[in-house]
Symmetry: C2
Subunit: 190 residues, 2 copies
Amino acid sequence: MELLKQRILRDGIVIMPNILRVDSFLNHQIDCSLYREIAKEFKERYKDTNINKILTIEASGIGIALATAFEFGDIPVVFAKKGTAKTTSTHLYTSKVHSFTKGIDYDAIVSKKYLNENDNILIIDDFLANGQAVLGMIDIVNQAKATVAGVGIVVEKGFQDGRKLIENQGYRVESLAIVDDFKDGTVILR
Amino acid sequence: MELLKQRILRDGIVIMPNILRVDSFLNHQIDCSLYREIAKEFKERYKDTNINKILTIEASGIGIALATAFEFGDIPVVFAKKGTAKTTSTHLYTSKVHSFTKGIDYDAIVSKKYLNENDNILIIDDFLANGQAVLGMIDIVNQAKATVAGVGIVVEKGFQDGRKLIENQGYRVESLAIVDDFKDGTVILR
Protein backbone atom coordinates (compact mmCIF):
# COMPACT_ATOMS: atom_id res chain seq x y z
CA MET A 1 0.00 0.00 0.00
CA GLU A 2 1.93 2.92 -1.39
CA LEU A 3 0.43 5.69 0.78
CA LEU A 4 1.31 3.78 3.94
CA LYS A 5 4.82 3.01 2.75
CA GLN A 6 5.47 6.66 1.98
CA ARG A 7 4.19 7.61 5.41
CA ILE A 8 6.43 5.09 7.15
CA LEU A 9 9.44 6.35 5.22
CA ARG A 10 8.55 9.97 6.04
CA ASP A 11 7.42 9.73 9.67
CA GLY A 12 8.56 6.37 11.02
CA ILE A 13 11.35 6.56 13.58
CA VAL A 14 13.87 3.77 13.89
CA ILE A 15 15.22 3.06 17.32
CA MET A 16 18.25 0.84 17.08
CA PRO A 17 18.58 -1.97 16.57
CA ASN A 18 15.16 -2.96 15.26
CA ILE A 19 12.25 -0.99 16.70
CA LEU A 20 10.07 1.04 14.33
CA ARG A 21 7.96 3.73 15.96
CA VAL A 22 4.93 4.90 14.03
CA ASP A 23 3.37 6.74 16.98
CA SER A 24 2.64 9.88 15.01
CA PHE A 25 0.02 8.31 12.73
CA LEU A 26 -0.75 4.72 13.72
CA ASN A 27 -0.67 3.81 17.38
CA HIS A 28 -0.56 6.82 19.68
CA GLN A 29 -1.79 9.62 17.48
CA ILE A 30 -4.24 8.36 14.85
CA ASP A 31 -4.38 9.86 11.35
CA CYS A 32 -8.04 9.28 10.51
CA SER A 33 -7.61 9.76 6.77
CA LEU A 34 -4.85 7.18 6.69
CA TYR A 35 -6.99 4.80 8.77
CA ARG A 36 -9.75 5.14 6.15
CA GLU A 37 -7.31 4.21 3.40
CA ILE A 38 -5.95 1.28 5.41
CA ALA A 39 -9.51 0.06 5.93
CA LYS A 40 -10.29 0.35 2.20
CA GLU A 41 -7.19 -1.68 1.41
CA PHE A 42 -8.18 -4.47 3.80
CA LYS A 43 -11.64 -4.46 2.22
CA GLU A 44 -10.12 -4.73 -1.24
CA ARG A 45 -7.84 -7.60 -0.26
CA TYR A 46 -10.56 -9.57 1.54
CA LYS A 47 -13.52 -8.71 -0.66
CA ASP A 48 -13.62 -12.30 -1.94
CA THR A 49 -14.26 -13.63 1.55
CA ASN A 50 -17.57 -13.49 3.30
CA ILE A 51 -16.39 -12.21 6.67
CA ASN A 52 -19.04 -11.29 9.21
CA LYS A 53 -16.92 -10.17 12.17
CA ILE A 54 -13.51 -8.71 12.96
CA LEU A 55 -11.35 -9.85 15.87
CA THR A 56 -8.49 -7.72 17.19
CA ILE A 57 -6.65 -7.21 20.47
CA GLU A 58 -6.43 -4.14 22.66
CA ALA A 59 -5.26 -1.47 22.45
CA SER A 60 -3.75 -0.38 19.12
CA GLY A 61 -5.75 -2.84 17.05
CA ILE A 62 -9.12 -1.41 18.04
CA GLY A 63 -9.15 1.69 15.88
CA ILE A 64 -7.85 -0.11 12.81
CA ALA A 65 -10.41 -2.88 13.28
CA LEU A 66 -13.23 -0.36 13.69
CA ALA A 67 -12.31 1.59 10.57
CA THR A 68 -12.16 -1.70 8.67
CA ALA A 69 -15.51 -2.84 10.04
CA PHE A 70 -17.06 0.40 8.76
CA GLU A 71 -15.75 -0.47 5.28
CA PHE A 72 -17.24 -3.95 5.54
CA GLY A 73 -20.73 -2.55 6.15
CA ASP A 74 -20.66 -2.11 9.93
CA ILE A 75 -19.97 -5.70 10.90
CA PRO A 76 -19.19 -6.23 14.62
CA VAL A 77 -15.69 -5.86 16.05
CA VAL A 78 -14.63 -7.97 19.02
CA PHE A 79 -11.47 -6.96 20.80
CA ALA A 80 -9.61 -9.46 22.94
CA LYS A 81 -8.56 -8.13 26.31
CA LYS A 82 -5.13 -8.62 27.78
CA GLY A 83 -5.01 -9.81 31.35
CA THR A 84 -4.78 -12.79 33.59
CA ALA A 85 -7.68 -15.19 33.23
CA LYS A 86 -8.86 -17.24 36.16
CA THR A 87 -8.33 -20.88 35.28
CA THR A 88 -11.80 -21.64 36.56
CA SER A 89 -13.64 -19.37 34.13
CA THR A 90 -16.05 -21.29 31.92
CA HIS A 91 -17.48 -18.33 30.03
CA LEU A 92 -14.22 -17.09 28.48
CA TYR A 93 -11.95 -18.18 25.66
CA THR A 94 -8.34 -17.56 26.66
CA SER A 95 -4.98 -18.10 25.03
CA LYS A 96 -1.55 -17.55 26.55
CA VAL A 97 0.52 -15.02 24.60
CA HIS A 98 4.19 -14.23 25.04
CA SER A 99 5.15 -10.63 24.26
CA PHE A 100 8.74 -10.52 23.07
CA THR A 101 8.57 -6.70 23.08
CA LYS A 102 7.66 -6.47 26.74
CA GLY A 103 9.17 -9.75 27.91
CA ILE A 104 5.97 -10.87 29.59
CA ASP A 105 3.21 -13.44 29.20
CA TYR A 106 -0.45 -12.46 29.24
CA ASP A 107 -3.78 -14.07 28.44
CA ALA A 108 -5.78 -12.93 25.42
CA ILE A 109 -9.36 -13.14 26.64
CA VAL A 110 -12.66 -13.15 24.73
CA SER A 111 -16.11 -13.78 26.15
CA LYS A 112 -17.69 -16.91 24.68
CA LYS A 113 -20.80 -14.87 23.95
CA TYR A 114 -19.14 -13.00 21.09
CA LEU A 115 -17.74 -15.79 18.92
CA ASN A 116 -19.56 -18.80 17.57
CA GLU A 117 -19.24 -21.57 15.00
CA ASN A 118 -21.06 -19.56 12.31
CA ASP A 119 -18.53 -16.71 12.41
CA ASN A 120 -16.12 -16.10 9.55
CA ILE A 121 -13.45 -13.94 11.14
CA LEU A 122 -10.95 -11.41 9.86
CA ILE A 123 -8.17 -10.97 12.42
CA ILE A 124 -6.68 -7.46 12.42
CA ASP A 125 -3.62 -6.07 14.20
CA ASP A 126 -1.30 -3.12 13.79
CA PHE A 127 2.03 -5.00 13.88
CA LEU A 128 3.20 -8.49 13.05
CA ALA A 129 6.62 -9.56 14.29
CA ASN A 130 6.82 -12.89 16.10
CA GLY A 131 3.13 -13.48 15.54
CA GLN A 132 2.30 -14.48 19.10
CA ALA A 133 -0.73 -12.19 19.50
CA VAL A 134 -2.20 -13.31 16.15
CA LEU A 135 -1.58 -16.97 16.98
CA GLY A 136 -3.40 -16.41 20.28
CA MET A 137 -6.37 -14.94 18.41
CA ILE A 138 -6.36 -17.84 15.93
CA ASP A 139 -6.35 -20.23 18.89
CA ILE A 140 -9.39 -18.43 20.33
CA VAL A 141 -11.26 -18.52 17.00
CA ASN A 142 -10.55 -22.24 16.79
CA GLN A 143 -11.77 -22.79 20.36
CA ALA A 144 -15.02 -21.14 19.28
CA LYS A 145 -15.17 -23.47 16.23
CA ALA A 146 -15.41 -20.33 14.10
CA THR A 147 -13.48 -19.84 10.83
CA VAL A 148 -10.41 -17.67 10.28
CA ALA A 149 -10.93 -16.03 6.87
CA GLY A 150 -7.54 -14.37 7.11
CA VAL A 151 -5.23 -12.02 8.93
CA GLY A 152 -4.81 -8.31 8.12
CA ILE A 153 -1.69 -6.53 9.36
CA VAL A 154 -0.71 -2.89 8.90
CA VAL A 155 3.05 -3.23 9.36
CA GLU A 156 4.88 -6.55 9.19
CA LYS A 157 8.46 -7.10 10.20
CA GLY A 158 9.37 -9.40 7.33
CA PHE A 159 12.60 -10.54 8.93
CA GLN A 160 10.83 -12.11 11.90
CA ASP A 161 8.95 -15.37 11.78
CA GLY A 162 5.35 -14.35 12.50
CA ARG A 163 4.10 -14.81 8.95
CA LYS A 164 5.73 -18.22 8.61
CA LEU A 165 4.18 -19.46 11.84
CA ILE A 166 0.70 -18.32 10.75
CA GLU A 167 0.97 -19.56 7.16
CA ASN A 168 2.27 -22.91 8.42
CA GLN A 169 -1.07 -23.31 10.18
CA GLY A 170 -2.78 -22.75 6.83
CA TYR A 171 -3.95 -19.15 7.19
CA ARG A 172 -3.72 -16.24 4.77
CA VAL A 173 -1.80 -13.13 5.84
CA GLU A 174 -2.16 -9.73 4.14
CA SER A 175 0.25 -7.01 5.30
CA LEU A 176 -0.03 -3.48 3.95
CA ALA A 177 3.66 -2.71 4.46
CA ILE A 178 6.55 -5.09 5.06
CA VAL A 179 9.78 -3.98 6.70
CA ASP A 180 12.64 -6.04 5.31
CA ASP A 181 15.45 -4.49 7.31
CA PHE A 182 16.77 -1.53 9.20
CA LYS A 183 19.95 -0.01 7.90
CA ASP A 184 21.83 2.94 9.41
CA GLY A 185 18.71 4.08 11.24
CA THR A 186 16.42 3.93 8.20
CA VAL A 187 13.69 1.53 7.19
CA ILE A 188 14.06 -0.76 4.21
CA LEU A 189 10.57 -1.62 2.90
CA ARG A 190 9.86 -4.51 0.56
CA MET B 1 -29.62 9.77 23.40
CA GLU B 2 -32.66 7.57 23.08
CA LEU B 3 -31.15 4.79 20.94
CA LEU B 4 -28.33 4.30 23.45
CA LYS B 5 -30.69 4.31 26.41
CA GLN B 6 -32.90 1.67 24.81
CA ARG B 7 -29.83 -0.43 24.11
CA ILE B 8 -28.60 -0.17 27.69
CA LEU B 9 -32.02 -1.17 28.99
CA ARG B 10 -32.18 -4.10 26.56
CA ASP B 11 -28.63 -5.44 26.66
CA GLY B 12 -26.91 -3.95 29.70
CA ILE B 13 -26.23 -6.41 32.50
CA VAL B 14 -26.22 -5.26 36.10
CA ILE B 15 -23.82 -7.01 38.42
CA MET B 16 -24.72 -6.20 41.99
CA PRO B 17 -24.31 -3.87 43.63
CA ASN B 18 -23.39 -1.24 41.04
CA ILE B 19 -21.53 -2.53 38.01
CA LEU B 20 -23.11 -2.09 34.57
CA ARG B 21 -21.72 -4.31 31.84
CA VAL B 22 -22.25 -3.16 28.27
CA ASP B 23 -19.78 -5.61 26.79
CA SER B 24 -22.10 -6.75 24.04
CA PHE B 25 -22.16 -3.42 22.17
CA LEU B 26 -19.77 -0.89 23.69
CA ASN B 27 -16.52 -2.17 25.16
CA HIS B 28 -15.74 -5.75 24.22
CA GLN B 29 -17.90 -6.33 21.17
CA ILE B 30 -18.46 -3.12 19.21
CA ASP B 31 -21.74 -2.38 17.45
CA CYS B 32 -20.49 -0.23 14.57
CA SER B 33 -23.89 1.24 13.72
CA LEU B 34 -24.38 2.33 17.33
CA TYR B 35 -20.87 3.81 17.36
CA ARG B 36 -21.79 5.88 14.30
CA GLU B 37 -24.86 7.23 16.08
CA ILE B 38 -22.86 7.96 19.24
CA ALA B 39 -20.35 9.85 17.13
CA LYS B 40 -23.09 11.89 15.43
CA GLU B 41 -24.51 12.80 18.81
CA PHE B 42 -21.14 14.03 20.09
CA LYS B 43 -20.79 16.06 16.89
CA GLU B 44 -24.22 17.58 17.41
CA ARG B 45 -23.51 18.50 21.00
CA TYR B 46 -20.10 20.01 20.30
CA LYS B 47 -20.76 21.52 16.88
CA ASP B 48 -20.52 25.01 18.40
CA THR B 49 -16.93 24.42 19.46
CA ASN B 50 -14.00 24.51 17.16
CA ILE B 51 -12.25 21.34 18.24
CA ASN B 52 -9.26 20.19 16.23
CA LYS B 53 -8.25 17.03 18.09
CA ILE B 54 -9.72 14.29 20.27
CA LEU B 55 -7.99 12.90 23.34
CA THR B 56 -8.99 9.57 24.87
CA ILE B 57 -7.38 6.81 26.89
CA GLU B 58 -6.77 3.18 26.02
CA ALA B 59 -8.43 0.81 25.49
CA SER B 60 -12.22 1.22 25.30
CA GLY B 61 -12.10 4.91 24.48
CA ILE B 62 -10.19 4.44 21.23
CA GLY B 63 -13.00 3.18 19.02
CA ILE B 64 -15.47 5.77 20.26
CA ALA B 65 -12.94 8.54 19.77
CA LEU B 66 -12.13 7.35 16.26
CA ALA B 67 -15.78 7.17 15.19
CA THR B 68 -16.26 10.67 16.59
CA ALA B 69 -13.17 12.00 14.82
CA PHE B 70 -14.58 10.70 11.52
CA GLU B 71 -17.73 12.77 12.19
CA PHE B 72 -15.61 15.84 12.89
CA GLY B 73 -13.95 15.64 9.46
CA ASP B 74 -11.07 13.26 10.23
CA ILE B 75 -9.37 15.29 12.94
CA PRO B 76 -6.54 13.46 14.77
CA VAL B 77 -7.16 11.22 17.76
CA VAL B 78 -4.53 10.92 20.47
CA PHE B 79 -4.92 8.09 22.94
CA ALA B 80 -3.21 8.26 26.30
CA LYS B 81 -1.43 5.08 27.28
CA LYS B 82 -1.69 3.50 30.69
CA GLY B 83 1.55 2.50 32.31
CA THR B 84 4.30 3.54 34.62
CA ALA B 85 6.20 6.59 33.44
CA LYS B 86 9.82 7.06 34.29
CA THR B 87 10.11 10.17 36.43
CA THR B 88 13.04 11.29 34.36
CA SER B 89 11.21 11.42 31.06
CA THR B 90 11.18 14.90 29.56
CA HIS B 91 9.31 14.08 26.38
CA LEU B 92 6.09 12.83 27.98
CA TYR B 93 3.11 14.39 29.71
CA THR B 94 2.00 12.13 32.54
CA SER B 95 -0.71 12.25 35.15
CA LYS B 96 -1.31 9.84 38.03
CA VAL B 97 -4.73 8.21 37.88
CA HIS B 98 -6.40 6.10 40.55
CA SER B 99 -8.72 3.41 39.24
CA PHE B 100 -11.43 2.70 41.80
CA THR B 101 -12.64 -0.19 39.64
CA LYS B 102 -9.32 -1.99 39.68
CA GLY B 103 -7.96 -0.59 42.92
CA ILE B 104 -4.70 0.49 41.33
CA ASP B 105 -2.82 3.63 40.36
CA TYR B 106 -1.39 4.11 36.88
CA ASP B 107 0.09 6.92 34.84
CA ALA B 108 -1.82 8.31 31.87
CA ILE B 109 0.94 9.05 29.36
CA VAL B 110 0.96 11.22 26.22
CA SER B 111 3.95 12.14 24.12
CA LYS B 112 4.58 15.89 24.15
CA LYS B 113 4.76 15.78 20.35
CA TYR B 114 1.01 15.27 19.99
CA LEU B 115 -0.45 18.09 22.08
CA ASN B 116 0.35 21.77 21.86
CA GLU B 117 -0.93 25.16 22.93
CA ASN B 118 -2.93 25.65 19.74
CA ASP B 119 -5.04 22.54 20.31
CA ASN B 120 -8.70 22.74 21.23
CA ILE B 121 -9.43 19.30 22.64
CA LEU B 122 -12.52 17.16 23.01
CA ILE B 123 -11.91 14.50 25.67
CA ILE B 124 -13.82 11.26 25.03
CA ASP B 125 -14.30 8.20 27.21
CA ASP B 126 -16.75 5.31 27.43
CA PHE B 127 -17.58 5.58 31.14
CA LEU B 128 -17.62 8.35 33.74
CA ALA B 129 -17.88 7.34 37.38
CA ASN B 130 -15.35 8.89 39.75
CA GLY B 131 -13.86 10.92 36.94
CA GLN B 132 -10.25 10.09 37.65
CA ALA B 133 -9.27 9.14 34.11
CA VAL B 134 -10.89 12.28 32.67
CA LEU B 135 -9.25 14.47 35.32
CA GLY B 136 -5.91 12.90 34.37
CA MET B 137 -6.53 13.78 30.72
CA ILE B 138 -7.55 17.34 31.64
CA ASP B 139 -4.33 17.63 33.64
CA ILE B 140 -2.35 16.51 30.59
CA VAL B 141 -4.13 19.00 28.28
CA ASN B 142 -3.35 21.74 30.79
CA GLN B 143 0.31 20.71 30.97
CA ALA B 144 0.40 21.11 27.19
CA LYS B 145 -1.19 24.59 27.55
CA ALA B 146 -3.90 23.36 25.18
CA THR B 147 -7.63 24.05 25.67
CA VAL B 148 -10.27 21.60 26.86
CA ALA B 149 -13.35 22.31 24.74
CA GLY B 150 -15.34 19.74 26.67
CA VAL B 151 -15.75 16.16 27.74
CA GLY B 152 -17.89 13.57 25.93
CA ILE B 153 -18.97 10.45 27.81
CA VAL B 154 -21.06 7.55 26.56
CA VAL B 155 -22.35 6.25 29.92
CA GLU B 156 -22.21 8.30 33.11
CA LYS B 157 -22.92 6.96 36.55
CA GLY B 158 -24.87 9.95 37.80
CA PHE B 159 -24.72 8.88 41.42
CA GLN B 160 -20.94 9.13 41.55
CA ASP B 161 -19.01 12.37 41.73
CA GLY B 162 -17.07 12.41 38.44
CA ARG B 163 -19.21 15.08 36.80
CA LYS B 164 -19.06 17.36 39.83
CA LEU B 165 -15.28 17.14 40.04
CA ILE B 166 -14.93 18.01 36.34
CA GLU B 167 -17.53 20.80 36.34
CA ASN B 168 -15.98 22.28 39.48
CA GLN B 169 -12.84 22.80 37.41
CA GLY B 170 -14.94 24.72 34.89
CA TYR B 171 -15.33 22.15 32.13
CA ARG B 172 -18.39 21.09 30.18
CA VAL B 173 -19.50 17.46 30.36
CA GLU B 174 -21.88 15.85 27.85
CA SER B 175 -23.02 12.31 28.64
CA LEU B 176 -25.20 10.38 26.21
CA ALA B 177 -26.79 8.24 28.91
CA ILE B 178 -26.86 8.78 32.67
CA VAL B 179 -27.44 5.94 35.11
CA ASP B 180 -29.21 7.29 38.17
CA ASP B 181 -29.47 4.09 40.13
CA PHE B 182 -29.58 0.33 40.09
CA LYS B 183 -32.66 -1.27 41.54
CA ASP B 184 -33.33 -4.99 41.90
CA GLY B 185 -30.76 -5.77 39.20
CA THR B 186 -32.11 -3.27 36.67
CA VAL B 187 -30.78 0.07 35.45
CA ILE B 188 -32.59 3.30 36.25
CA LEU B 189 -31.70 5.85 33.55
CA ARG B 190 -32.28 9.58 33.92
